[in-house]
Amino acid sequence: MRRKHKVAWLRFCRKIKAVKVPRLWKFSFLHSLFLLLMGYFWLGTSYTFEDEALLIKWTTLIKKELMGIDPKPSPDEVLFINTAGSKIPVYTDADALSLKPAVELITDREQLAHFLDLLLPFKDSIPLIVADVLFDIPAIGDSLLADKMTKLGDKILSVSYMPETDSIVPPLFDVPYALSTYRSSAEMYFKYPLAYKQEKTVPTVMYEKTTGREIVRKGPFYGDHGQLLLKSPVTNFRLTLDDFRLGSDLRQKNFSVHHLETVINMGQFMDTEDLAILFSGKMVMIGDFSTDIHETVLGPMPGVLVLYNAYLTMIHGDNVMKLGWLLLMIAGFTWITHRILSGKGLYLLEGLKRRLRSGWIHFMIDSVDEILYLAILTLLSYFLFNIHISILIIFIYLKLGELVLDLIKTQKKL
C-alpha cells in the first residue's frame, strides 16, 4: 500500500516537473517572495501612512459594522478598573518655561494597595492583574503598595515606559513590569510591537504569562512554537468603549468600568462568595479611562483598552503568519508582478484606457487599477486572516520598478 502511494507521489512530482512554467511567471513568483519579505519588515516598523490609516479604518468599519463580523470577548474574562477618580497631587520640579502645572496628578497608591488587598485571597484564580499605572514618582502609600505587590508575586504586571531619551523608566518597586510604549507617525495608534528596543512590551508579556508560551527572537524574526509572528501587528479592536454600558436588563452581562474607589467601598459590604464571582477567572485591567486617551481608527480609546485589544490580537493569533495567509500573499503578489511586467491580465479600467492615448494618463489609470488590486488583497487578508497589510509602500516600490523597466525598454529601442 505504501509503495502504491510512493509511486503515485513520484508520478505527481514528474507531472509537476513536466509543466513548463514561463520564465516571467517564475520571476514573478520569486519577486512575490521578496515583496512578502519587504511587507514583513515594513509591518514591523512603527510607520503607517495616512492613506493606509483610511483603508484600515474603512475595512474595520465594513467588517464590524456593515457585515457584523465582530466577535467579542466575554465579560466573564476581564474586569476593568478605572483609576481616573482616584488621583492625588504630587509635587514635581517645575519647568519655568512650561505652562504645565508643577504638580502631577497620580493614582492614589494607598487606594490601589487597598484594592490589591481585596484581590489577594483570590490570586490563584486570577489569571493576571495588569496595572497600567506608572510608578515612577515616589508618593504616599508606596511601602503599602509595594508590600501588596510583593504578595501578589508574578500575578501582577506593572508597566514601564520609554521616553524620547530611549532609556527605560522602570517602576520604583521590585515588581514584574513590561514596556508600555508604542510609536506612531500618524498621531494615531495602529499597532503594538511585540518588543521595542529588545524589550518585550506589555501585550507580549500578558500573552506569555497567560498562555505559558514564550515568544522568541531569532535575528530579525519573532516566533512562537515554530510559528512565525508579525513583529508589529495592526491591532484588531475586539472591544471598544461602545461595548461598555450601564446595564438596564438584568438578564444580560455587560462590560463595566468599575471605579477604583467604588470597588474598594463595595468590597467592605460584599460577601466572600460575591467577591470571588467578581474577581475569579478574570484578568484585572487597571488604568485611567478619562485622561490616558489614545486616538485610534475607532475613535478615542483609553490606554488600558488599547493594551487589552493588543493582547487579544495576539491571543486570537492575528499576528501569526499562517500558511493560508502566506499562500494568499504569494499568489496575489505573483499575479500583480506578472501583470506589471507583461502588461497582460485583467484591467478594470481598460475601457477608459482605450479612449485616452497619453502614456502618462495610461500610467495613472494603471496605477489606480493596481492600487485597487492591492486594496482587494489587503481586504482579503483582513477579512480572512485578520491581518492588515501595508499596501502603499508596496505600491510605491512597484511603480518605481515599473518606471525603471519602461526607461530600460525605451533605451533599448533607441
Binding site: A84, K100, V103, D242, G247, N254, H258, T262, M266, D274
Partner: protein, 269 residues
C-alpha cells in the same frame, strides 16, 4: 426504579439550585425603599427583592459581581396611567429613556454658539459637560422651536442618550450620567425637511462636585497660595482642562472656582 427516584429528587431540588444573583447598591438617588427601609450604599438585594420608588426621577445604581453595573429606574411606559412605583428587581427593565431634571435658572450662559459651525467646532472629539450647564445660541441663525431642534443619537446601541431642553436663548443637556465614562454620540440639527449632522464625539459627564474637587487641588497647593488666582487659572487650570476635558463650557469652570471654591477674584473671560 432507582433511576426514577433520582430524576424525581433532581426535579424537586431544581428550584433550590436556581442561582439568585446578588446586587449591591452603589448609589440610590432619591428615596428608594426595600421592606420599608431606605436603600443606601452597600445594601445587598437580589432578583426577588421588591423595591419601591417614590419618584419617577429616582435612580438606583447597582453592582452585580456577575453581570456588571446597572441603572434601575421606575417603569413609565407610554400608555401607562402611572409609573410602576413598586416592582420586583427582576422585573425592573426600564426603557432607554432619561427624565429631565430641573435646570439652574439663576445661571447665565456665557458660551455662545453663533451658527452651526460654532456647534460643529465644539461638539467634536471629546466634550465634557456638567449637569445644568446652559449653552447659548444665536436664535436668529439656530432656531430652536417646535420644528427645529438639536438631537443626540447614540453611536452604539444601549448607550445612554442625554436629552436637550430648550430654554430662552439656548439649551441645557439633561439626563447626564455623571459616571465620567465617555459615551459616543452624534449631534444633529433638525429642521423641517433637513437633518444636518453637527458632529460625532465622546461625551463625558462629570458631577459638579468631582470638578470642584479636581480644581481645588490647584488652588490649595502651598506654593500656589502666593500666586494670583488668575496666574493659577491661566498657567495651570486652563492647560489641565484643555488636556483632560477636551471641549467644555469655560463659564462653568469659572463659576465653580468663584462660587464653589470661594475664590472671589475676577477671573479673565
Amino acid at each position: 426504579m432507582k433511576t426514577m427516584m433520582m430524576i424525581l429528587l433532581f426535579a424537586l431540588s431544581f428550584p433550590l439550585l436556581v442561582h439568585s444573583a446578588n446586587y449591591y447598591v452603589i448609589n440610590a438617588e432619591g428615596k428608594i425603599y426595600v421592606e420599608g427601609k431606605l436603600l443606601k450604599t452597600g445594601d445587598k438585594i437580589n432578583d426577588e427583592t421588591e423595591i419601591k420608588f417614590t419618584s419617577v426621577r429616582d435612580k438606583l445604581y447597582l453592582l452585580s459581581p456577575e453581570k456588571g453595573n446597572f441603572l434601575i429606574q421606575p417603569l413609565n411606559k407610554p400608555g401607562n396611567a402611572a409609573p410602576n412605583w413598586i416592582t420586583l428587581l427582576k422585573n425592573a427593565l426600564p426603557e432607554s429613556k432619561y427624565y429631565k431634571t430641573a435646570s439652574r435658572g439663576e445661571e447665565k450662559p456665557t458660551l455662545l454658539f453663533n451658527d452651526v459651525y460654532d456647534l460643529m467646532g465644539f461638539f467634536r472629539d471629546r466634550v465634557t459637560c456638567l449637569p445644568g450647564t446652559q449653552f447659548s445660541v444665536n436664535t436668529e441663525k439656530i432656531q430652536m422651536n417646535g420644528n427645529s431642534t438639536l438631537q443626540f443619537e447614540s453611536v452604539a446601541e444601549g448607550n445612554p442618550i442625554p436629552g436637550i431642553q430648550t430654554i430662552p436663548g439656548g439649551f441645557v443637556l439633561t439626563g447626564l450620567d455623571t459616571s465620567g465614562i465617555p459615551v459616543a454620540l452624534k449631534l444633529y440639527y433638525i429642521q423641517p425637511g433637513d437633518k444636518k449632522e453637527i458632529g460625532t464625539f465622546y461625551l463625558v459627564a462629570k458631577s459638579r462636585a468631582a470638578v470642584r474637587n479636581e480644581l481645588a487641588l490647584f488652588f490649595n497647593l502651598p506654593e500656589n497660595r502666593e500666586q494670583t488666582p488668575a496666574n493659577v487659572y491661566y498657567g495651570q487650570v486652563l492647560p489641565y482642562i484643555r488636556e483632560a476635558y477636551g471641549n467644555t463650557h469655560p463659564g462653568m469652570i469659572r463659576e465653580i472656582i468663584q462660587k464653589d471654591l470661594g475664590i472671589k477674584a475676577a477671573l479673565p473671560e
